[in-house]
């Protein structure tokens, strides 16, 4: 029996094909990010390549970071058959003392033999990138040397944590103590500038200017003295901490080389080729923790993204604190306090459409209005002595948050309006009929019922704000902010400071650093984190909406 196919059924399949394409693209992209992002922290094995190209034979040691096709035209110039799809490996060879570049491309057809020596070690260092090689010996002092490879490795592992901790302590003290002294010094310097400014404007006479200035200069000299002492003390401590040295047998371009690496400067040392499963897991966990809790190292290519997470969260919170109350206010006004004429309709369309205005336009407004106009005005009024160095007249977290709150306020307005519109007239009228005033009705009846909608709007606004980069780029985001927006110095919150942001971090490492291929893993992990935060916020919006709706449904009736 023959089945008759309904007319146009193939076309229906075609439309289905396009939807399937959508689904494949989005899941494929998420998968790509998840796989690449999660895989970045695994301990990569150290491969030893024996090269046998046209050049003289060479042995290199390093971790393979990626593998890709050699472009057809390049393959042809190199003399490979493009139809065979030759590949090349991006190998991290590290050892910046020996090689000019951290990474090098190894063409697949040139590789003779690949081995994984079990005792190959990778040392992650605070500076100068990774080092690869084999443990040669451990030099504890001028005449205390442990020569055996196994003993040296054992002793190294015992002393490493302590020495590393010591160096971290020195660093922390440096930041705290010297930071405090430097801060005081800077305050004095600014006071001198302020005095000079006041003298120039005739607000103080020259006699009191001179007395005060002498005092400050004396205080500054004292500070400088103690700064020097502190520095010297810390320097000698650091010298002691850096004395024990791990000697590494590395493969240079001309045979083996011995490289001295101070134990304290090693962040992490591991032998990935002979790791147990638990060690691998511990390694992975420590890398993830470092990523989430540490400052970036090596021009953002290594270390963590904690300041970026912090900056993103702080910025989003500030933005929400501005956008939500004002958005709710505007929505209440539009819905409850106007009669809904043509004017209100126009305003509503205009507000809706602001969500479609390019974010860079908001950024431009933020730069022109907040940074230059308002910030410049604040500087001229409150900090004239610091000019031309700007205080508020340059990008900062406050201006970035305000700019983004303008961008997200339409989201809040629209969501709140929808929630308000959804409340049945009867509830409102019932409240009014019982003698409540309009405000009481709004506060006790309307707003509680609209809360789920408002919350959803707020969370969606946060998600949108967390993912925006373009307006931030011109209103205060920087690639590296050493100072957090708050500290122990008055007024504790320093909203004029610049900040780091996960989205901008992606752009920065992926597009503004020299070795993009090498840093791409970091970009993927940062992306994963950002997407994780945004998806979490979106999910939260959906869940909050569902849960609160349930609660108010039962409470309301």
């Amino acid at each position: 029996m023959k089945h008759s196919v309904p007319r146009g059924d193939t076309y229906v399949w075609m439309t289905g094909g396009f939807l399937a394409l959508c689904v494949i693209m989005i899941t494929g992209m998420l998968l790509l990010i998840v796989v690449q992002g999660i895989g970045y922290f695994r301990p990569r094995p150290i491969d030893q390549f024996a090269l046998q190209g046209d050049a003289e034979a060479e042995t290199i040691l390093g971790q393979v970071y990626s593998r890709e096709d050699i472009p057809g035209d390049v393959a042809m110039t190199l003399g490979y058959d493009p139809a065979a799809r030759p590949v090349r490996y991006l190998v991290r060879v590290g050892n910046r003392e020996l090689f000019a570049q951290d990474f090098r491309w190894v063409n697949g057809p040139d590789v003779g033999m690949v081995t994984r020596p079990a005792n190959a070690v990778c040392l992650e260092r605070v500076e100068y990138g990774n080092a690869y090689g084999f443990v040669h010996s451990l030099r504890l002092g001028a005449n205390r040397v442990i020569d055996s490879e196994i003993d040296a490795w054992d002793v190294f592992q015992k002393i490493h944590e302590t020495l590393r901790g010591l160096l971290e302590q020195i660093k922390a003290r440096e930041k705290d103590e010297l930071g405090e002294l430097n801060y005081q010094f800077e305050q004095h310097r600014l006071e001198v500038k302020a005095l000079e400014y006041r003298l120039a404007n005739g607000r103080i006479d020259s006699a009191s200017y001179e007395t005060r200035k002498t005092e400050i200069v004396a205080a500054m000299a004292n500070l400088e003295q103690s700064l020097r002492l502190h520095q010297a003390a810390l320097d000698s401590m650091r010298r002691i901490a850096r004395e024990p040295v791990l000697v590494l047998r590395a493969l240079g371009s001309s045979g083996e080389d011995l490289v001295d690496i101070p134990v304290a400067s090693i962040v992490r040392a591991y032998k990935p080729n002979s790791m147990t499963a638990t060690a691998t897991l511990r390694f992975y966990a420590s890398k993830v923790w470092e990523f989430l809790s540490d400052d970036p190292r090596e021009a953002n290519a290594e270390g963590g993204v904690f300041p970026a997470i912090f900056g993103t969260v702080m910025m989003v919170l500030l933005m929400t604190m501005v956008a939500v109350p004002f958005g709710v206010l505007a929505a209440l006004y539009l819905r409850e306090y106007t009669s809904g004429g043509a004017m209100v309709r126009i305003v509503r369309i205009a507000v809706n459409n602001l969500a479609g205005v390019p974010s860079i336009v908001f950024g431009m407004f933020g730069l022109g209005f907040f940074v230059y106009f308002v910030g410049g005005g604040i500087d001229a009024l409150l900090y004239p002595e610091r000019l031309p160095a700007p205080t508020y007249g340059t990008g900062g977290i406050l201006w970035a948050s305000l700019t983004l709150s303008l961008l997200t306020v339409p989201v809040v307005i629209v969501a709140t309006e929808e929630a308000l519109a959804a409340i049945p007239r009867g509830i409102r009228e019932g409240s009014l009929a019982l003698g409540a005033t309009k405000w009481e009705t709004i506060r006790r009846v309307v707003l509680p019922s609209a809360t789920p909608g408002i919350m959803t709007g707020a969370i969606l606004a946060m998600a949108r704000g967390a993912g925006e980069v373009a307006p931030l780029m011109i209103t205060g985001v920087v690639k590296l902010a050493t100072e957090m927006p708050f500290d122990s110095h008055f007024p504790f919150f320093h909203l004029d400071r610049k900040f780091m942001h996960l989205g901008f971090h992606i752009y920065d490492i992926g597009f503004q650093t020299s070795n993009v291929e090498a840093n791409i893993g970091m970009v993927y992990t940062t992306t994963l984190l950002l997407i994780g935060i945004i998806l979490f916020l979106n999910m939260a919006a959906i869940m909050v909406r569902a849960r609160l709706r349930e609660r108010y449904r039962t409470a309301g009736f």
């Binding site: 309904p6 146009g8 193939t10 229906v12 939807l19 989005i26 006004y333 011109i474 992606i506 950002l530």
Partner: protein
């Protein structure tokens, strides 16, 4: 009843007052806050527009003072310091007169050493050096200090002099004089019956205090007409000698001891009365006896001796009388011209505009623009100096320079170019928005080509054909797509897709071709399946078969693509493209951008279209199906026509988003502002341009305001598109409720 109890009464009254009061206060604050927020949000538009207004203000010239000297010395030339606090004039009697430009009072007189009868004087464009020639064939360079604010700064130690004897006698000398950034100076002097002489001094600042060596060389040629004007550029590379017949001679004088005549060219059909180099030394301004003003530049020319030849740039509004004086500005490409009837015009080279026309009473003898370009000095034939202040803040911007095809200096043809800043201060800014607008539209169109079919057909399937259970999975996935930050999409496009596409472009093409085949194969497979096997599936679950089929065909594509590439393109598509079609392949090209930006706008188009499609009243579709139409017939004949305004509105909103998208284009294109239709090159869009350039643009400068203007264009465009789309949607909603 309560009336007896005054206590209760009082509390009740107090409470009521408080309630009424708080109600009123809340109403006031909510209204105030609400109106405030709306005003602030809408004020963005006003602010951005306001920032661009000064671009269109007219320049103006106001006379501050008129200077008549106590006894009628013949003033030859005059200049000012940077702050316009001190001016000077050189007289024929060999005196330097200092005056105050703010009120025109004479402050002091200095005698120029060993000069009694100055027959000619010229100042260099920076107004720091003066060349004076006396009747005894004696030349003198007076150097003023780099900064001076009062006469006492210019005592005998302040002004240094460098005398030299001319190798050629001049009876009525004319000269042009310029100083390089290294303090080297170049002068070209000509006179009746004698060949022009080039005077060069290099290495002046190498040894402070030492006398620089002065080299003089004759420029000899056998032309009979008399020299009427000479000009030398600030690098000492080019000399143009003009004659009474309108013919001019261009000399390459890079080797001052051996000047080479490169070109003989007719700059006018009548006597050339004044010539001057514009800031940067790339443009010569020419004025003639009929009052015409033209500019000329040097363009590459392989036929020329030194590879360069003069070409004409612009003609400006002409004067009534013969042009007598030209002065070029130090900060931008403005210049002023004066004529024998006393007219003084202000022009701007880029775009060839005459900005301002002013009329004096007596013939103009000499002109000077103050170093900061905020004032001019006009020397009239009666010996008086008119001191004027000039307001000319944004001469670079005009509708013509922003949107027109402009021939820039060094170009032999007009182009659309955006290049806002260059390596040097005297760089000619090129502010054509055309390549940026083009790039914006190109990117958005490529995005639409990809996004429209995917989003609309996908929405069609979701709204009309899919099973609710599938719909409940698919819609959140697409909404998830909308939540992805554009920086993520841009990063994936630029760092994953672009390099992949570069090596595997053919794979992508093969996959695109295989896509319909995979759908066909899936549907065929479905039909061939026995009925029993299909029973478990619900109608509208085609997706379950389609997704694996498409993925399978994609994988298949990557396997057969190398064979196809080897067969059709000899192994490398990129190389084939370059060699056979002469098309360069940029890694970050329009295809990558189109794909990425399409990906970004699919969710919004999808959501709005899906809303419109599923909003079509059910009785229409039910009626159609009941009459025996298939689901495809119902979709195309009933649902699509009804919902088409909604789909159109979806496409508009999507287009608006694509136009304004910043991060994706910033990351996935090379950001080169080119006008190229090729799909294999990148672009720069208005939004990316703002992101790239505004951090470096000086506050309230021309670039800053032009970027705000481009932001205004973006804002207005997207706002308009969204509003129209919104109105269409509202109308549609009304229609749905009526049918």
């Amino acid at each position: 009843m309560f009336r007896d109890n005054s206590l209760v009464d009082q509390t009740a009254v107090r409470r009521r007052v408080r309630r009424v009061w708080s109600n009123g206060a809340a109403g006031f604050f909510i209204s105030l806050g609400g109106v405030g927020v709306i005003i602030v949000v809408l004020a963005i538009f006003v602010f951005i527009g306001y920032e661009t207004i000064p671009l269109w203000t007219q320049p103006s010239l106001t006379e501050i003072a008129d200077l008549h000297f106590s006894h009628p010395d013949e003033v030859l030339i005059m200049g000012e310091n940077e702050y316009r606090s001190l001016g000077y004039a050189v007289t024929g009697t060999g005196e330097l007169i200092f005056f105050s430009p703010s009120d025109g009072t004479e402050l002091a007189r200095h005698r120029i050493p060993s000069m009694t009868n100055v027959t000619f004087a010229a100042i260099d464009p920076t107004q720091k050096k003066i060349l004076a020639i006396d009747s005894n064939q004696f030349g003198l360079i007076l150097s003023l200090p780099t900064t001076y604010t009062q006469v006492s700064d210019l005592d005998s130690r302040g002004i240094t002099t460098t005398p030299f004897a001319l190798i050629e006698p001049f009876t009525a000398p004319i000269a042009d004089f310029s100083v390089s950034g290294q303090d080297d100076f170049y002068a070209v002097i000509a006179g009746d019956k004698s060949p022009p002489v080039l005077v060069t001094s290099r290495g002046a600042s190498l040894f402070a205090g030492s006398t620089p060596e002065i080299v003089q060389a004759k420029l000899s040629w056998d032309y009979s007409a008399a020299v009427s004007s000479v000009a030398v550029d600030k690098f000492g590379e080019r000399v143009v000698v003009s004659t009474t017949t309108g013919r001019a001679f261009y000399w390459d004088v890079r080797d001052p001891t051996n000047p080479i005549m490169v070109q003989s060219i007719a700059l006018s059909d009548t006597e050339i009365t004044a010539t001057k180099f514009l800031l940067g030394g790339q443009v010569l301004i020419v004025g003639d006896a009929k009052g015409r003003i033209t500019t000329w530049t040097w363009a590459l020319d392989s036929a020329s001796v030194n590879g360069l030849s003069m070409v004409r740039l612009n003609e400006f509004d002409g004067h009534t009388g013969r042009v007598t004086a030209i002065a070029s500005a130090l900060r931008n490409k403005s210049f002023i011209t004066g004529d024998a009837t006393g007219e003084v015009f202000l022009h701007y080279q880029t775009g060839g505009r005459t900005l301002l026309k002013s009329r004096g009473s007596a013939s103009t003898r000499a002109l000077t623009i103050s170093p900061r370009g905020d004032g001019i000095l006009i020397l009239a034939a009666d010996g008086s100096i008119s001191i004027d202040s000039l307001y000319n803040p944004y001469p670079e911007a005009s509708l013509r320079t922003l949107f027109g095809k402009i021939q820039y200096e060094g170009y032999d043809h007009p182009t659309y170019t955006w290049q806002s800043t260059g390596g040097t201060d005297d760089f000619e800014s090129k502010f054509s928005l055309v390549p940026l607008l083009f790039g914006t539209l190109k990117g958005a169109l490529y995005a639409m080509v990809f996004a429209l079919p995917v989003a609309i057909l996908g929405a069609l399937y979701t709204a009309l054909f899919s099973h609710p259970r599938i719909r409940n999975i698919v819609k959140p996935i697409v909404e998830l797509m909308a939540a992805l930050p554009s920086v993520v999409i841009g990063f994936i496009a630029a760092l994953w897709l672009a390099p992949l596409l570069e090596t595997r472009f053919v794979d992508a093409v093969v996959i695109v071709v295989l896509f319909p085949l995979s759908v066909l194969a899936a549907s065929l497979l479905w039909r061939l399946l026995p009925h029993a096997a299909k029973n478990g599936f619900l109608s509208g679950s085609e997706l379950i078969v389609l997704v694996p089929a498409i993925v399978l065909f994609m994988i298949l594509g990557t396997y057969i693509a190398p064979e196809i590439e080897a067969f059709l393109f000899g192994g490398s598509f990129r190389q084939w493209l370059y060699e056979s079609a002469n098309v360069a392949y940029d890694q970050r090209n329009s295809i990558v951008v189109g794909f990425a930006m399409g990906f970004a706008v699919i969710p919004i188009i999808f959501t709005i279209s899906e809303d419109a499609l599923s909003g079509v009243p059910a009785h229409l579709t039910a009626g159609s199906l009941a009459l025996g139409a298939t689901r495809w017939q119902t979709a195309t004949r009933v649902v699509l026509p009804t919902a088409s305004p909604g789909i159109f509105s979806a496409a508009m909103v999507g287009f608006g988003r694509a136009v304004g998208e910043t991060m994706i284009v910033l990351m996935a294109t090379g950001n080169t502002p080119v006008l190229d239709f090729s799909a294999f090159v990148g672009m720069r869009t208005l939004s990316a341009n703002i992101a790239v350039e505004i951090p470096e643009a000086p506050y309230l400068g021309t670039l800053y305001r032009i970027l705000f203007f481009s932001g205004l264009l973006l804002f207005a465009f997207t706002f308009l598109v969204n509003t129209v789309a919104e109105i269409i949607r509202q109308r549609l909603r009304k229609r749905y409720s009526t049918i």
